[in-house]
Amino acid sequence: MAKTLKNAKGFWGTIVIVIVLSVVIQFLINGGTLNSFYVNTLFSIGINIILAVSLHLIIGITGQFSIGHAGFLAVGAYVSAIFTMKLAMPFPVAIVAAGLAAAVAGLIIGIPTLRLRGDYLAIATLGFGEIVRIAFLNIDYVGGASGMTVSHLITWPILVACVIITIVVIVNFTNSTHGRACLAIRENEIAADAMGINTTFYKVMAFAIGAFFAGVAGALHAHNFYIIQPVNFGFLKSFDILILVVLGGLGSMSGSVIAAILLTIISTFLSSYPEVRMVIYSLVLIVMMLFRPQGLMGTKEITAFFKAGRTAKGGMQDDKHTVA
């Protein structure tokens, strides 16, 4: 009991630090200290954190190998764009609608496919992602292949709020009884079944929650990049998100967050060298997997380091700067 309380303290402490930092960053943006290049990088980082954490719930916690996450991202992006551009609704409403639409998509795809295991589920979700992409490609209402232009409505406070809500919801879910059930499914589905855990129910639930936040990320994505096109939501995008989760360490939420921050920064700075960008990016991944196959954090959470000692604490918080 005391241990959980301590962890919770560390977690909420981190959240407070993040909020304080993001207020500071807001002042820097207003004052013009951060130019638009850095602001854009920060937005990308935030969106990638939401994507990584939402997929972490599905793969890292529940152990369901899904590689169709870009499909949910696309649903969120298009639904939110329709809400703001075609229906002239306010942006926050569009974000919620995007999340709900993606969650419904998650239910529709999850109920039939989550009976499958391992490779079969991966292939089914991959297929789902492609179906979504092709569907948007052929709907003229959303612009077909040329896509939709979307206003730049994303703001720093909205982004920070979405990131924090995502993390708080997923951490609380993980620590709840439902989260325990999901972990049990990841560890051993047959044993979980034998314990009387309704495995299908919990798998679908985790899938729908993960899809919801991917939809939210989609809304933020659409209103950050001015234009959305089906080509941006191919299976390579799904793999990008998957890489964040695997690199961070399967089962570690803080790992996903740190991986999202680091990889976004690496790929942003590499975009100045387009010829070698993918080569270096791939090399980073290969080296990483050779020397730390369990991912950056393994299955540990960052709160474990708060207790480990002050040096570790200081070191890790430097990474946290960029969360905000």
């Binding site: 009884t177 325990r180 560890e187 051993n188 034998a194």
Partner: protein, 235 residues
């Protein structure tokens, strides 16, 4: 307590259980012995709801449970120790036990059962914070049994608890099975180690290629020449 009437179970086209009937009375230890692939585990999985019979009925305390989902069956009071232990390897001993009580809401009762399990398996108390994947095979078997007991079952299904364990540990495990039975839990024990199983059981069934071929008290079956030849390695 448990009454199985003429059930037929299929894996796709394979007819795995062919008209199996079986009775278990409250308070007994009943053992089901048979070779690999005879259908022992299939029968256990069918009772616990992991498989559904095509025809036939299963009555638990006079209620139909055949084809019901596992969580309902666990709630009714049947819990299973799956074959090969299947502990949640990355979780601590304590978390594994908590998950055994997943469907229960009575905090006080759960605490009592924690104490009971730790009394039964002092090893688990020593290692309650340890990751269960790092336990030895015998300890994992104890954990799997403790986890099943956390559901406070009236009928405990044990699927080959002696599998892969050293003879001395097998003895310990079987002694504990008897202890569990003495506290009032009825036990259905599936085993390949027929000698050990018959030594603690009241009654026994012999299953061969999906059919019950012999049944009787453990003493009777232990004496039968045919059974001795086929399963006990005797002359």
């Amino acid at each position: 307590m448990l009454k199985i009437n003429d059930i037929n179970v299929y894996y796709g086209n394979i007819h795995a259980l062919k008209g199996v009937s079986l009775d278990i009375n409250a308070g007994e230890i009943v053992t089901l012995i048979g070779a690999n692939g005879a259908g022992k585990s299939t029968l256990l999985k069918t009772i616990s709801g992991l498989l559904k019979p095509k025809t036939g009925e299963i009555l638990f305390e006079n209620e139909h449970v055949a084809g019901k989902v596992p969580q309902l069956i666990v709630k009714r009071g049947i819990s299973q120790v799956p074959e090969g232990r299947r502990v949640f390897a990355n979780m601590s001993v304590e978390e594994n036990l908590e998950l055994g009580a997943f469907l229960r809401k009575d905090k006080k009762g759960i605490q009592e059962d924690f104490d009971k399990v730790f009394q039964l398996f002092p090893r688990l108390l020593e290692r309650r914070k340890q990751q269960s994947g790092t336990l030895s095979g015998g300890e994992q078997q104890m954990l799997a049994m403790g986890r099943a007991l956390m559901a406070r079952p009236r009928l405990l299904l044990l699927d080959e608890p002696s599998m892969g364990l050293a003879p001395l540990l097998v003895k310990t495990i079987f002694r504990i099975i008897e202890e569990i039975n003495q506290t009032g839990t009825t036990i259905l024990l599936v085993e390949q180690n027929a000698n050990m199983a018959l030594s603690i059981a009241n009654r026994a069934y012999v299953i061969e290629t999906g059919k019950i071929v012999a049944s009787g008290t453990a003493a009777e079956l232990g004496q039968s020449d045919q059974i001795r030849k086929a399963y006990l390695g005797g002359h």
